[in-house]
């Protein structure tokens, strides 16, 4: 395959960036998108040029480290996959592909396709956890969890925190991320005691970190590599109303 790649190159956070064009011959349709970038980077290093900076770790779609925009879409055009699981066979021979970093006010570009997503960790530090003494393992079934609750909680827990929802959102909002985290905790008995404090602190943190609000366009759901439903966002609102309009027992 022949591929013409337009890649966003930016040397640092405060330096203006621009697109650079690379022509690639003999691209195998079996390569993943990242493998293609690896091959390009090898060539750039051999030519004595600066390689393209991008993040990746597990390369099997479960760690949430990789991610950038391909032709304006977070993680590329294929539904329910991360960039590392996107293969070149999904592109056509001779195609021009535009690669840009995830953009949002809360995600400043560090270099090329690498953005600082630590704002998502900062939201988690405000309430995305359970404060209990762990102790020794409890007896099986001492805390009853229904089959339904367990699987629903798992649906929301599949969020890998890659930031595609923020990147796709016209408002750079982390609502789907926040909703998924809150939902997976509140569906289980352990998440109950800190519900109100959790939603309050996480919502305040989200705005303080520069994320926008949700305008229910559902672009996040369309781009989420784990296909998390916007039901998470409805649950986020529900948690907020519950915390706002009832007495605080915490």
């Amino acid at each position: 395959m022949r591929i013409r790649l337009r890649v966003w190159r930016q040397r640092g956070p405060d330096v203006p960036g621009k697109f650079e064009v690379y022509e690639l011959e003999d691209v195998s349709p079996d390569w993943s998108f990242l493998e293609m970038l690896d091959v390009l980077n090898l060539r750039l290093v051999r030519e004595g040029k600066e390689p393209i900076a991008f993040e990746s770790d597990c390369r099997e779609g479960i760690c949430g480290t990789c991610g950038f925009m391909i032709n304006g879409r977070a993680h590329g055009p294929l539904k329910g996959t991360t960039v590392c699981q996107l293969h070149m066979r999904h592109f056509s021979d001779g195609e021009t592909i535009t690669v840009e970093p995830f953009r949002a006010r809360a995600f400043p570009v560090i270099r090329d396709l690498v953005v600082d997503r630590s704002a998502l960790d900062a939201i988690m530090q405000e309430g995305g956890y359970i404060s209990t003494n762990v102790g020794s393992a409890p007896d099986a079934n001492s805390i009853p969890v229904s089959r339904w609750a367990a699987s629903r909680a798992f649906d929301f827990a599949t969020c890998i925190g890659c930031g595609a929802c923020v990147a796709a959102c016209p408002n750079g909002s982390a609502s789907l991320f926040l909703g998924a985290k809150v939902s997976h905790l509140m569906l289980l008995p352990q998440g109950g005691p800190e519900r109100k404090r959790r939603i309050r602190k996480m919502l305040i943190a989200m705005e303080a970190l520069g994320f926008g609000g949700c305008s229910n366009t559902y672009a996040c759901e369309a781009e989420c590599p784990k296909e998390i439903s916007v039901e998470a966002i409805a649950r986020m609102y529900r948690e907020a109303w519950r915390a706002m309009f009832s007495h605080s027992e915490e």
């Binding site: 016209p170 309050r200 705005e207 520069g210 305008s215 559902y218 649950r235 609102y237 706002m244």
Partner: protein, 226 residues
């Protein structure tokens, strides 16, 4: 962590959703009133006068003013916050969802412009200053102007786009999400987004063609009708 305020965007979302649903109710009642135009000047003016002297209308008017102000302020604040959250814009633009879902600020601005014109044409002269006594005549005069009619029709097309997102979005904001009811609500929303503007546009065109029958004969598919 200190943010811009307690629950801020969520509070604005709730205000926009609740006032928005109230304003949809108002649109339906206003449309019901407009349909008396078909009954002619006598009935229409009588109904308008009846509404004007109804003491209950004072309460509704106050609620309406509050709803409009809260809705507009929430919309402006949310739009400003959301634009700031976007930060740097993408060079390669791809919209995953329908354009009207992303352009609520634009349809909202057009509706606001229409609201100002509408208040200036009918509400203020009839309701407040009293310089208009024959409301039917004022309506007929306004819609005799093709430019006014065109503006009115376009404004209601934008209202349709606004409603197409508004109804579904309001329920999502209220936390309603259900396997069965959410798709049903979405269909109701699209129905309202077509039906409400269509009603208003129908009456606008009815008044326009009543005042300008020669335009009706000029329509190509009616060229044979005398």
């Amino acid at each position: 962590m200190r943010g811009p305020g307690f629950y801020s965007f969520v509070v604005y979302k709730l205000s926009a959703a609740l006032t928005g649903l109230f304003l949809i109710l108002f649109l339906v009642f206003h449309l019901y009133g407009n349909f008396y135009l078909l009954e002619g000047p006598m009935v229409y003016n009588w109904k308008a006068r009846e509404l004007l002297v109804n003491p209950l209308i004072r309460v509704v008017e106050v609620l309406l003013v509050i709803a409009f102000v809260v809705h507009i302020v929430s919309g402006v604040v949310l739009t400003a916050r959301n634009w700031s959250g976007r930060g740097e814009r993408y060079r390669y633009v791809f919209w995953q969802t329908a354009f009207f879902k992303r352009l609520m600020w634009l349809s909202g601005a057009v509706i606001l412009l229409f609201l100002v014109v509408h208040l200036g044409t009918f509400t203020v002269p009839y309701r407040i200053t009293g310089e208009v006594q024959d409301l039917y005549q004022a309506v007929a005069k306004a819609f005799a102007n093709p430019w006014y009619t065109l503006f009115y029709v376009l404004a209601f097309v934008f209202l349709g786009f606004h409603l197409a997102h508004a109804w579904e979005s309001a329920f999502q904001t209220l936390g309603v999400f259900h396997r069965v009811w959410t798709p049903v609500l979405r269909s109701i929303g699209y129905f309202l987004a077509v039906a409400i503007p269509l009603g208003y546009i129908f009456l606008a065109l009815y008044m326009f063609f009543k005042a300008n029958p020669e335009w009706l004969r000029a329509l190509p598919f009616l060229s044979g009708v005398s």
